[in-house]
């Protein structure tokens, strides 16, 4: 399972970067989204894919029952998803405003501030 997910993660990174290298604004945003999905899946994979119970401490115990899943990667991913949601929303609005201002979604037409 790790191998499959590793390939998926690699594919997400590769396609994200490929899309970002295109000139279209829309593809740029999709590329960013894929990249952040790739990072989230990577944390999920690297946190260990074990079939185990929820890490809940039963009444009267001090530790959760023996095979339990590490909850931390999921907490990290949840945080990262929320952040990337907000950031993507901003990026989409920025894209739309830039499209209106420039009149094109071609990144090569947005070079006036470059040096």
């Amino acid at each position: 399972m790790e191998t499959v997910l590793a390939i998926v993660v690699g594919g997400l990174y590769a396609s994200g970067i490929y899309l970002m290298l295109r000139r279209s604004l829309v593809k740029l945003v999709i590329g960013l989204v894929l990249l952040s999905h790739g990072a989230n899946l990577l944390i999920f994979t690297i946190g260990g894919l074990t079939r185990a119970g929820a890490p809940i401490v039963a009444e009267g115990e001090t530790h959760p029952a023996a095979p339990f899943a590490d909850p931390l990667p999921q907490a990290l991913i949840l945080t990262a998803i929320v952040i990337s949601f907000g950031v993507t929303a901003f990026a989409v609005v920025l894209l739309q405003r830039a499209y209106q201002a420039v009149g094109s979604d071609d990144l090569d037409k947005m070079k006036t501030t470059d040096t």
Binding site: L25, L32, I43, I46, V87, A91, A101, T115
Partner: protein, 510 residues
Amino acid sequence: MKSLVVLPILIPLLTAAISSLAWRSRAAQRWLGLVGAAALFAVAIMLVLGVRSHGVQAVQIGGWPAPYGITLVADLFAAIMVFLAGLMGLAVAVYSLAGMDRERERFGYYPLLHVLLTGVCGAFLTGDIFNLYVWFEVMLIASFVLLTLGGERAQLEGAIKYVTLNLISSALFLTGVGILYGVAGTLNMADLHVKLRDVAPGMATTVAMLFLVAFGIKAAVFPLFFWLPASYHTPPVAVSAIFAGLLTKVGVYAMIRVFTLLFVQNPEYTHTIILWISGLTMVTGVLGAMAQHEFRRVLSFHIVSQIGYMVMGLALFGLTASPTLAVLSLAGSVFYIVHHIIVKTNLFLVSGIALRLRGTSELKELGGLASAYPGLAVLFLIPALSLAGLPPLSGFFAKLSLVQAGLGLQQYTIVGVALAVSLLTLFSMMKIWTEAFWKPAPNALGGTDAEARETSQASYYLLLVPVAVLAAITALIGLGVGPLFDLSLGAAEQLHDPSDYLRAVLGGAR
């Protein structure tokens, strides 16, 4: 004492929240912005003094003990950075009172400024690597909006590059954090320092490279800096100034933090790369600046060039076995950051006044500022010469300590590069001086100049206040360099030998 560690995050957050509630009242937002910035500055001073006398302070959020909960840590380096954030926040808040247009104030400029400060202070104070990522994002989102607020075409074009590169950097950072958790099983930085000793050095170095690229993009080092000169000159000057002062330095701070605390397994490899990056950053930055003829674009490229010096101290730290030289190099970096933040913000603020007075930032169209506004000319010269490193200003001592460390390490190439680049910096500052201040005003502009640009006397002086104060600080640092350098040495010792840091975070057990 403990509450002092939390307050630099809470104060700007509360200020932002309360001034968002006062959305309709521009006056209330202005006052709240000012009061919040002043309070942050006051707390930051107390934090530096407290850390100096009581040692490293750590707070376990929610009472969860160290490696499990999130820890906030204030060592001397972090405290100094928070102090600088407070100082810049206050300077820019005062400047904005006269320098920011009504439209942007109406659309939440002051709350955003404080959200930005929250993120910056959080990034300085956190002791948890994932939490650092979160603070980075807080800071980034605020900076995205500040950069695009107003929605001019140039701003949007600059913002696309800024947003894209910073999001790529965040994704890489997140990847690095994930792998780090996978190999070490912890996210607390002090705990990571301990656990990474048992991790295979190859794995640790691989992760280190991910972090180097991620923070390298944020810090704008060679060859990852292109977003900076493409975007920093587009927003209003007050925004440019706070970006120039603080944002890239958060990247440098994070780089210094992880490459002194976490990734010290294989310094011959990692810190040699950093040394190369440092030299190339200095050179490309300053060459870029020489090709520019717009006030803020020149300054933007100089940010890049100066980042090279800060990183140089970090590189030298990793390449020496001698503790004295290692501490000296890091102290050089810390001192350089202090000097740079003050001076660079100041130069941007001056560029804003010139823009306000003449309605242009193109050096060709400027001119005659020295005879018309001699006070402003002096206030430009002080930070400009300090940036180039002329004695007795702060930049001279910052460069001196780095050069001393470099000579002690027999790294003559980097020392040569550093000295040559400061000459070129002087050249470039003199270009601004002769073009904008010294040469007579171009005739074509006489008409618009006579219209007086609608700058009332009162708002001119209000703009001048933060500039004058920052210039005075630069000069004072130069004249009384001892105390600040001792402070930097103290910060460098804590970075070099993290046992105090570990004890404060993890308790005495380890």
